[in-house]
């Protein structure tokens, strides 16, 4: 039962409407148990095993605003099944907040973060509880490409031995290019199938006097991160995945020619005034949330936008995915024979203060229902094989899920895997400098220097 009524929606904007849903979600559950194709049995079985009445569970995560409303719909079922009192909190500066809280000794029960690099820091300081071999086995068995998820959640503990500490939950696909199908039709463009075609299309659009790309790196204190996604995507398209892994662990230095090649591949798009909306100078200052607006302007200010699967949240109000806007897979070079690499990111849940409720929450994430509730709404992809793909809330999500399944190579966002000083510091700022006119060699050299300083 939902309180999503049409008149409300019409009167208030979509923000308010979503918010109303959130308000409703807190009070009750968005999908009535027993109805729809959901795996309600898993919820019931889970509830029968875990009675946590009177206990409280504090969760700290990265999701704010609309996303917070969504995660709370999932938590409502946990609450209902166990009787536990769940409080979810987040903060604009959640990375700093979690460090302050753990260092000072007042951590939440469960923390959820999108940066494995940061989790590694916390683990090595002894702030995180291991999840146990049993959970690792479960991931191997039940997640598609399970081994890679286990290794993503495994870190070196304070004693130096590696173990599973974090549980991957909710992933994003990053190798996507968004566009407006009708603008493509009006101009007679085809969706490119290979990187060669994509580059040709870029040149063609520019020759016709139009602007092919909208690129915006602005993100307040995190300015620069969208460029790291670009570079990572290009890295997977010019080098085999093994090189990518070496890059992430700094086995090859950041200023290795292979990395510089990938940076310059990004530069091919971003450092050409004719290829980006507003010219190269605008790339670094345009806010990433504002950047896609150019797709929908009249006349169009650009035709393509590279971004992760979450970006439709920031499209203009009323934009309907699949009709007003769509996306295609950021293609690979036909000539390089590197298959279909996909770049992704995701969030991992881990225990920062052990309790029965915290353990139960990790068990809850193993139930299909914990995935299905979010899937059936928006912005959620999962590699969990038992979660019913038919439940994806929209054809768009399903299509993203398919890209994930078609991937011959899946790699996690490199900047999230690198140490914080690099992946959330010099890599970001370096990309801003690069777009600002510095050479790839200079920038990569500076990033490597900061990595050395961090060792």
């Amino acid at each position: 039962m939902t309180k999503r009524t049409t008149p409300t929606r019409a009167i208030l904007g979509s923000v308010a409407a979503l918010a109303l849903c959130a308000g409703a979600a807190q009070a009750q559950m968005v999908f009535t148990p027993g109805e729809g194709g959901f795996n309600w049995d898993s919820l019931e079985a889970f509830g029968a095993e875990h009675d946590l009445s009177g206990q409280t569970l504090s969760i700290f995560g990265p999701w704010r605003g609309d996303d917070q409303a969504l995660v709370e719909t999932v938590l409502a079922y946990f609450k209902e099944a166990t009787g536990a009192n769940v409080s979810y909190a987040s903060s604009e500066t959640y990375e700093q907040q979690i460090v302050i809280d753990t260092e000072a000794g007042s951590p939440p029960n469960i923390a959820i973060l999108p940066q494995p690099g940061l989790i590694q820091d916390l683990v090595s300081k002894g702030f995180v509880e291991p999840l146990g071999e049993e959970t690792a086995d479960w991931l191997r068995e039940n997640y598609a490409a399970g081994e890679s998820w286990v290794s993503l959640g495994s870190y070196e503990g304070p004693d130096g031995s590696e173990a599973l500490y974090a549980f991957p939950y909710k992933i994003d696909v990053k190798s996507l290019v968004f566009y407006v199908p009708e603008n493509f039709e009006d101009a007679g463009y085809e969706v490119p199938e290979t990187m060669e075609e994509l580059k040709a299309l870029t040149e063609q659009i520019a020759e016709e006097g139009e602007t092919p790309w909208c690129i915006g790196l602005g993100s307040g204190g995190a300015t620069g991160w969208p460029a790291t996604d670009w570079v990572e995507d290009m890295m997977l398209r010019v080098q085999p995945p093994e090189v990518y892994d070496q890059w992430v662990t700094n086995e090859i230095p950041f200023n290795d020619p292979k990395v510089i090649e990938a940076i310059d591949e990004f530069g091919w798009f971003a450092k050409n005034d004719d290829f980006v909306n507003g010219g190269t100078g605008a790339v670094a200052t345009t806010d990433f949330r504002e950047s896609p607006d150019g797709l929908f302007a009249s006349p169009p200010q650009c035709y393509m936008h590279h971004q992760a699967s979450f970006i439709p949240t920031f499209f203009p109000e009323g934009t309907e995915m699949g009709i007003d806007a769509d996306f295609f897979y950021m293609p690979a070079y036909e000539g390089k024979d590197l298959g279909q690499p996909v770049l992704g990111a995701g969030t991992l849940a881990f225990i920062t203060k052990d309790s029965d409720a915290a353990r139960a929450f990790i068990e809850f994430l193993k139930t299909p229902i914990a995935h299905e509730i979010w899937m059936a709404q928006s912005g959620f992809l999962t590699p969990y094989k038992d979660a019913d793909a038919e439940l994806y809330g929209s054809p768009t999500l399903k299509k993203m899920g398919e890209i994930l399944l078609d991937a011959t190579t899946f790699r996690f966002d490199a900047s999230d895997l690198m140490p914080g000083a690099v992946g959330a510091g010099s890599f970001w700022t370096g990309m801003v400098d690069y777009v600002g006119g510095k050479s790839a060699e200079d920038v990569a050299g500076a990033i490597q220097k900061s990595w050395d300083a961090n060792k």
Binding site: L12, G13, V15, A16, L18, A19, L20, A22, G23, Q26, S58, F60, R64, G65, D66, D67, Q68, A69, E72, S87, Y88, A89, S90, S91, E92, T93, Q97, I100, D101, E103, A104, G105, S106, V180, E182, N183, D186, A187, S219, G220, D287, F288, R289, E290, S291, D293, F296, A297, S298, P299, P300, T313, F314, P316, E317, I323, D324
Partner: protein, 379 residues
């Protein structure tokens, strides 16, 4: 005394004009934000706020035809109006992003499959086809139109009542007050006693203490966060209002002592000496003479400290925590900005919501503020 302006009338005019200019310069940025907070996202990104009051001619983003189809003379028809408001006037339109101004108003154009679309200058459209539109993607219309100035309260509705993340702004408002009031009053009390001691009592080490207070004025807050939260957790205060109050007290004290001491030193010496001769103790002198005399300074610091605690984000986040029911106003607004960062209308509105109370406090109490500052630094 006549000031420099009073003597020559042409200079008076120059003064008036320069002041007006200065005020305009200072006011401009804020006014821009205020105006923006009453505009829709579309308006903000299409034209500068200074043109909000005049009619706008420009290309609107693509509008997709929508409506219920009905049958009419063997044709399937959808009609309606492109615009929400009546006053919008269309001057050209098109259906392709490449030729958005292809057609004049009041013309009919044939599209694919025998579809015929006509758009009038009022924005009324009529789309007809020999077969049903069922399952078809309806065309987009690119309109060049003149829109009258339009203002909306929707942004405020969204920010104030769209409870995106649990508890609403009302709760946050209350939380902020709960933080601000004690965090303003406690440091004043503590600082007043200290300032009196530093101003009027003789004891060894006084100069050193005064210097220390000044030195502590520059301690970067970020440094103190973790050691202090650690301390709070160890002694059992944990995260909560008590912790925030104490933290604000600590952080606010140097400025309070500095300002109040400066003021108290300037009080007439004879009054205090006379009272001493009459046998009054320092406690009596303080409560009966100095405190009432220092009222303007106390009030001025109260405003400063209130503004600071009201606008504070960092201390509240760290010492109060990020639980929904404890979020202060700034934290809630920043969260809202975090998920909506690119959208000026939300940014502008939240910024305004957050500065309303400080502005009211300031305007209500500025008399004391000016008086207090005046006396505090002029000797």
């Amino acid at each position: 005394m006549e000031g420099m302006a009073g003597q020559k009338s042409h200079l008076t005019w120059a003064v008036h004009i320069s002041v007006a200019l200065l005020v305009a310069l200072w006011l401009f940025p804020t006014v821009g934000l205020l105006v923006s907070s009453f505009r829709t996202a579309e308006q903000i990104s299409n034209s500068g706020w200074w043109s909000a009051f005049s009619a706008q001619k420009g290309q609107l983003p693509a509008i997709r035809i929508s409506g219920d189809e009905r049958q009419e003379d063997g044709l399937y028809v959808i009609d309606g109006n492109l615009f929400g408001t009546a006053e919008t006037t269309l001057s050209a339109w098109g259906t392709s992003s490449r030729e958005p101004e292809a057609y004049e108003p009041d013309t009919e154009v044939e599209l694919k499959d025998g579809w015929v679309l006509g758009v009038a200058s009022s924005g009324d459209f009529r789309l007809s086809a020999p077969q049903s539109f069922e399952g078809e993607r309806l065309p987009r219309v690119f309109a060049t139109a003149t829109t009258p100035p339009e203002f909306t309260l929707e942004n405020y509705g969204n920010v104030l009542f769209g409870t995106t993340a649990g508890a609403g702004v009302g709760q946050a408002f209350l939380n902020t007050l709960t933080v601000s009031i004690p965090a303003t009053v406690i440091p004043i009390l503590v600082a007043a006693f200290a300032a009196y001691a530093l101003a009027w009592m003789e004891f060894p080490g006084r100069a050193l203490l005064i210097a220390a207070v000044v030195a502590l004025l520059v301690v970067p807050l970020q440094l103190a966060l973790i050691p202090l939260l650690q301390l709070h957790n160890t002694i059992g205060i944990g995260k909560g209002y008590l912790g925030v109050w104490l933290a604000h007290t600590g952080f606010g004290l140097p400025l309070a002592i500095y300002l109040l001491r400066n003021y108290m030193v300037g009080l007439p010496k004879d009054i205090i000496e006379n009272a001493r001769v009459d046998g009054a103790s320092d406690f009596q002198i303080f409560t009966k003479i100095v405190l009432p005399l220092s009222f303007p300074a106390l009030a001025s610091f109260a405003i400063f400290q209130f503004l600071w605690t009201w606008n504070d984000l960092l201390v509240a986040l760290v010492f109060l925590g990020t639980d929904d029911d404890r979020l202060v106003l700034t934290a809630r607004l920043v969260n809202l900005m975090g998920s909506r960062g690119g959208q000026w209308e939300i940014l502008a509105t939240s910024a305004f919501v957050s500065i309303v109370v400080p502005l009211v406090v300031f305007f209500a109490m500025q008399k004391y503020l000016v008086r207090g500052l005046l006396a505090g630094s002029v000797k």
